[in-house]
């Protein structure tokens, strides 16, 4: 398939005319027709003639000329409705574009559709969608992961060349691992959040999903940077990530914390993550022991802060200026709003919300100490393999524990790269998580790229 090719290969092919971008877009639409309805991958699909017309209007010299992409349906787009996978917004047509979308368009990329997700980002499975539960391309009886499940599945089933997800407590990382693709949670502020429906504003990040670390670097170079419409976007200069990635990282210290391999972790995932460390060691890096006794406390603190922030953010949906009435929130979303409302209410604020903010400080200091001893921290990504459809949504505790290794990183604002690292004996893919210091995306991508040059896990495809 043409869409198996890397972004650089596609772009080079367009430039020397060996690949016609029309064929690639046709191929993406054929995949959408084949899989989207059965797996509940996309919520809205762009008219094909409109996409092809946009292609004809573009200069072939543009950075991302003609590359088709999918956005999570949490981004404002003037071409397609933005539902956030909730009936509340099922007929909401934004009048402006999210910055990430505007930047991709300006660089010549072409939006094909909007990906399914857990409504408002509330979930780790895409079961909490009003547009049908997202199914895993590797086993459609199991969840696709989430909350950016649709965009991840769209990459895995080649409905696009890359996709944009959103990661608050693991929403890019979890589905990347469960779909055998690569995903990047960026440093908080690295990419503008303007035009992204807010879940928990102090942790929401905008990031790419793609086939390889190299592809993620190509996209990050375009979407990163400060934005006058997002006061939390970082003024740090944006490097050329593709160039950083082409330099082989030398003798990195990779930190591993034994506390992160506790009894809640699937044994095969545990062994796989350790085998990944061995491979990095073979590649010339040094594995060092670090201490991070914080997974459980992080997850609990996250499940105080995120509902608190979401109860405030979702209070704007009153059905007056846009959207429908609040009785259409799902039970999962109502649970989160009510938990947050309670935590922020007078008399409980100190015990919950303020306590969690102090735990966040503790986490930052703990990670600082760990990063004194290493350049990159290796963590398992998901503690479990994708459950059967319907299992997580009916079990709030399991739902929260699915984010165990993601929430510590979210709370401290660090970047994390997830890449495929092998397979479970049940045939489903496993991913690992590489965590860096703030703004170390270049280093993470370079390490991921080095690993992907030496292995072929990321090239394996589902058997649908």
């Amino acid at each position: 398939m043409l869409l198996d090719k890397s972004l650089k290969e596609l772009l080079a092919g367009y430039r020397n005319k060996s690949i016609d971008p029309v064929d690639v877009i046709n191929e993406a639409y054929a995949q959408i027709t084949k899989y989207s309805t059965d797996l509940n991958v996309l919520i809205s699909v762009r008219d094909k003639q409109e996409a092809l017309q946009q292609l004809r209007s573009l200069s072939p010299s543009l950075t991302l000329y003609g590359l088709p992409y999918i956005l999570k349906d949490s981004y404002s787009t003037t071409e397609l409705r933005t539902t956030c996978a909730s009936k509340i917004l099922d007929n909401y047509f934004p009048v402006y574009d999210a910055t990430v979308h505007q930047k991709l368009k300006a660089a010549g990329a072409i939006l094909l559709g909007k990906g399914n997700m857990d409504a408002w980002g509330h979930g780790a499975s895409t079961e909490n969608s009003d547009f049908g539960m997202g199914k895993n391309p590797w086993d459609p009886t199991r969840v696709v992961g989430g909350s950016s499940g649709g965009p991840a599945a769209a990459v895995a089933t080649r409905m696009c060349a890359f996709a944009i997800g959103e990661d608050t407590g693991g929403s890019i990382r979890n589905p990347a691992a469960w779909n055998n693709i690569s995903g990047l949670r960026v440093t908080y502020g690295r990419v503008s959040r303007y035009g992204c429906v807010a879940y928990a504003s102090s942790m929401d990040t905008v990031g790419p999903l793609g086939k390889t670390a190299e592809d993620l670097g190509v996209i990050l170079s375009v979407i990163a940077g400060s934005d006058k419409y997002d006061a939390t976007s970082a003024p740090n200069p944006v490097p050329d990530y593709s160039q950083l990635l082409s330099k082989k990282p030398q003798h990195l210290k990779i930190g591993i914390a034994s506390e992160m391999f506790g009894p809640g972790l699937d044994k095969e995932i545990s062994a796989n993550t350790k085998a990944f460390a061995d491979k990095l060691s073979d590649l010339g890096h040094e594995i060092v022991d670090i201490s991070l006794p914080i997974a459980e406390i992080s997850d609990a603190a996250y499940y105080i802060l995120a509902p608190s922030e979401t109860s405030s953010n979702l209070s704007r949906y009153d059905g007056i200026r846009y959207g429908n009435m609040r009785e259409l929130f799902t039970q999962e979303t109502m649970r989160r709003i009510m938990v947050g409302t309670y935590e922020l209410s007078s008399g409980y604020y100190d015990a919950y919300y303020r306590k969690a903010l102090k735990i966040r400080t503790l986490l930052i200091k703990t990670f600082q100490k760990a990063f004194d001893k290493c350049d990159v921290i290796l963590l398992p990504e998901n503690p479990i393999m994708p459950p059967k459809l319907g299992d997580l949504i009916s079990d709030p505790l399991a739902n929260m524990l699915a984010d165990l290794y993601n929430t510590p990183v979210s709370l401290i604002g660090s970047p994390a790269l997830v890449i495929p690292s092998g397979f479970h004996k049940n045939g489903l893919p496993i991913g690992v998580q590489l965590v860096g210091k703030k703004f170390a995306e270049g280093l993470l991508l370079a390490l991921g790229h080095e690993y992907q040059q030496a292995t072929d896990w990321h090239t394996r495809s589902h058997k649908l």
Partner: protein, 101 residues
Amino acid sequence: MTKTKLITTADIKHLAKLANLPLSPERLTQLASQIETTFEYIQTTQNTDTSKYLETNQVNELSNILREDIVDDSHTFTQEQALQNAKQTHNGYFIVPAILE
């Protein structure tokens, strides 16, 4: 000894009112149990001593990001755009629920 509930059904009803969430009796029952489970979990944070830590509200280390106080014409809505997603409008206004009898 029976376990004391962290959250009562009366609490749930009060929260639903505060958060403006209409609840069916069935959903109320289900949420009461789910919210109890959630609080049992997040209650574990109380076991960590945080007395020597200050709060971290945000992690991007920026402060006082301001802009010029001028109208940005590229980011204003026309009246038509502002109203285009509203369910109920009248003479170019939003219709809102009455709050006074």
